[in-house]
């Protein structure tokens, strides 16, 4: 029995904020706002793996929810922009998705377990579950979705993102970048912006690309990334006769850095790479030629006749539609002999 009442809210909380944040940093890489979603600990699934799910026996979601969950699975495949695993319904699927109590614990709308690379489970709370704040409404369970409902497809997409290994996106303090990720700590309800995102956000894709790689060397890097590149340039000859032919070969790669995960060291092809030149002893570069993609992957070449000595470099300008940084190669010099056979130009040049 309570014999004496003395309420004393101790200020443990402030201490804990910093302390726990620090200690939890282990499994989840902490990244500043508008960066790729943090990565959950644990392995990844096989690149381009196909994860088959089935409805959990005795806990099958209602038809409207099944349709939305299947749509979310398709959304992953359509918008992953990476080699992340895909999800497909199959009656023989080994990964059960259930509806009801499950083992979600206190977590609000849905939950998952991931056991990469082996499999996963997922649960969705049932329509009408009563929480302290009120009653859960799934939008898809209505003909006319009411305000305050949660979109099943969006929440399922969030869960599939977790299964892939994505942690909750760290938003700006004003949440202005909320729609950059569907994998969010807090879910929005109709009609708030982002409540019905049916595509992976750029920062979801960014972490998927880090963990699973991009589909191919010419695929776009998410704009939520800021990946450094390295350009190198070689020439077929260091000196040629006047009018001699020289082949320049550039290579463009992602910088080798463990922080880039599977992107590290990737060759980058299909981009615009220019060859620039400058006369010896000068500092101003001018565009000389556009280099064309070649093999091996990530190589760009141009062949040209030279009529004067010059320094050359290959330049990759940062595109506005992807998250690659610009880079220029170190300069390489090519010495060109004097003109000995008339007609010769009055001045040097090409």
């Amino acid at each position: 029995m309570i014999t004496r009442r003395r309420r004393r809210g101790r200020a443990v909380s402030l201490l804990l904020v910093a302390a726990v944040a620090a200690t939890l940093a282990g499994p989840v890489t902490r990244i500043a706002a508008h960066s790729p979603d943090p990565a959950l600990g644990g392995d990844t699934f096989v690149q381009d793996g196909r994860l088959l799910y089935d409805w959990r026996t005795g806990a099958v979601p209602p038809a409207a929810m099944r349709t939305a969950i299947n749509a979310a699975a398709a959304d992953v495949g359509d918008t992953r922009a990476s080699r992340a695993a895909t999800f497909d319904f199959d009656t023989a699927g080994a990964n059960p998705i259930g509806y009801g109590t499950g083992t979600c614990g206190v977590n609000g709308l849905a939950c998952f377990t991931r056991d990469a690379p082996n499999g996963f489970t997922m649960w969705f709370r049932e329509q009408g579950r009563v929480f302290d704040w009120g009653t859960l409404k799934w939008c898809q369970m209505y003909t006319d979705a009411p305000s305050g409902c949660y979109d099943v497809e969006t929440i399922a997409l969030d869960e599939f993102g977790h299964v892939e290994g994505l942690g909750h996106h760290v938003n700006y303090s004003d949440d202005s970048d909320y729609t950059d990720a569907v994998v969010q700590t807090y879910s929005r309800t109709r009609p708030r912006a982002g409540y019905n995102m049916h595509v992976l956000g750029v920062c979801d894709v960014a972490q998927l690309q880090i963990r699973y790689d991009i589909p191919g060397a010419s695929s776009k890097y998410s704009t939520c990334l800021d990946v450094a590149t390295v350009m190198t340039l070689s020439r077929s000859a260091a000196s040629v006769v006047y009018g001699g032919n020289v082949t320049f070969t550039a290579t463009l790669k992602v910088v080798t850095d463990t922080a880039y995960g599977r992107l590290s060291g990737n060759p980058v092809s299909g981009r615009a790479v220019r060859l620039q030149r400058r006369p010896p002893g000068t500092t101003t570069w001018s565009n000389f030629a556009t280099m064309t993609a070649s093999s091996p992957t990530g190589s760009y070449v141009v062949s040209t006749r030279l009529y004067s000595s010059a320094e050359f470099r290959a330049v990759f300008s940062a595109p506005t539609n992807e998250g690659l940084r610009a880079d220029g190669s170190p300069a390489v010099a090519v010495a060109v002999g004097s003109c000995t056979t008339a007609p010769c130009p009055l001045s040097t040049g090409r």
Binding site: T3, G9, R10, G26, G41, T101, T103, G108, T113, H162
Partner: protein, 374 residues
């Protein structure tokens, strides 16, 4: 707020439950025998706790109508008995315990919340409370004579705090904790849970947002409260001594498992990627954490609440999973100290397909749940 002394005095046929305990689907019990349909009789006399009640269990499941929650189905039983009993509750309902062979049940019909205490062995129930406020969850005090209940306002769903009342109705309910202060870092409260410390001296009042939770640790004797409010801390595993063990903020498993020192707020990461976790004790009676390694639950690990003395523990060879706390498993079984429970999918089964087993942590002995209860 309406308080009904009549109800506390045990209404005939236990109206609290009978009102909603439409007898339901026959299902199999833990032991594979059909569940008996059941309307609880009113227990005579004052509520009492039994002794030698290990093996009393419950499980709560949603009852759906066209995919929407229409109510909840509570299955109760005693290991060793041939049958389990089922009764239907309202959609907003809960169960807690078991303690002393009793299960505390709350159900809300949209106008009143009613609490009943079911004596599983005797097959009867006491009506112990009725309120106009919504009782979200409740628990019996360690003295077996006090009821703690967490309430929200029926119309606004505003937090009304933690209340206590004597089971015998001798004094009216009184509030022992105020509503938790709004904090945008946690958002609206989704779920409130009441968890007793391992020694049942402190009551943890957990208020969880969509993911992150705050915990107020109440000493019911002196009224002292300690607040743990960290948006990186998720649901509570348990409290023992001066340490609180919780998962991190995750929407699933695996999830970090942390131990918070309630004296200085320092934290220790017990595991970076744990599955289900429970508190238990070692051979010397010292509390420890038992948790799954990863989400698959194939292997387990024990570790002190300070992160010391980790050791591996075999998983269940038949694929049962560690049964977590009631908030995660939707059920519980009364066991002696030092025993942990395994069941299919980490839950107590009601279909009899795979019987739950208990393992004694200090020596690894494993027995069927119904074996130790006799």
């Amino acid at each position: 707020m309406l308080e009904s002394r009549w109800f506390r005095r045990a209404g005939p046929a236990v109206a609290t439950l009978a009102a909603v305990a439409a007898v339901v689907v026959i299902a199999s019990s833990t032991l594979g025998a059909p569940a008996r349909t059941w309307v609880p009789e009113a227990c005579s006399g004052a509520p009492t706790m039994g002794s030698s009640t290990a093996g009393t269990w419950y499980r709560i499941d949603p009852a759906l109508d066209a995919g929407a929650l229409a109510g909840q189905r509570l299955t109760v039983g005693r290991a060793g008995d041939r049958g389990a009993r089922q009764l239907d509750l309202d959609a907003e309902s809960f169960a807690a315990g078991p303690v002393g062979g009793t299960i505390l049940v709350g159900t809300d019909d949209g106008r009143h919340s009613r609490l009943s205490l079911i004596d599983v062995a005797r097959g009867c129930a006491w009506s112990v409370a009725e309120t106009v406020d919504v009782i979200r969850t409740a628990t019996l005090g360690s003295d077996g004579a006090t009821l703690f209940e967490y309430r929200v306002d029926r119309r606004t769903r505003a937090d009304l705090g933690l209340w206590q009342r004597p089971l015998d109705g001798a004094t009216p309910p009184s509030r022992v904790l105020p509503p938790i202060v709004a904090d945008a870092r946690f958002g609206p409260t989704w779920l409130t849970d009441l968890v007793w410390s391992y020694d049942r001296r402190s009551l943890a009042v957990q208020s969880c947002g969509e993911l992150a939770c705050r915990v107020r640790v109440l000493d019911p004797v002196i009224g002292e409260v300690q607040l743990v409010a960290d948006p990186d801390v998720g649901d509570l595993v348990g409290i023992a001594g001066d340490r609180l063990v919780a998962h991190g903020v995750c929407r699933g498993l695996p999830c970090p498992l942390v131990s918070v020192d309630l004296h200085d707020g320092s934290t220790t990461v017990l595991d970076h990627a744990a599955g289900q976790a429970v508190l238990s004790r070692d051979a010397d009676g010292r509390p420890l954490v038992v948790h799954e390694v990863g989400a698959a639950g194939r292997t387990l690990r024990i570790v002190g609440l300070d992160g010391q003395h980790p050791a591996a523990l075999d998983g269940d060879p038949d694929g049962r999973r560690l049964v977590g706390g009631p908030a995660r498993s939707g059920g519980a079984a009364e066991t002696a100290a030092g025993w942990i429970l395994f069941g299919p999918d980490g839950r107590l089964p009601i279909d009899g397909a795979l019987r739950p087993v208990l393992r004694h942590v200090p020596d690894g002995r494993t027995v069927p749940l119904d074996e130790v209860s006799r």
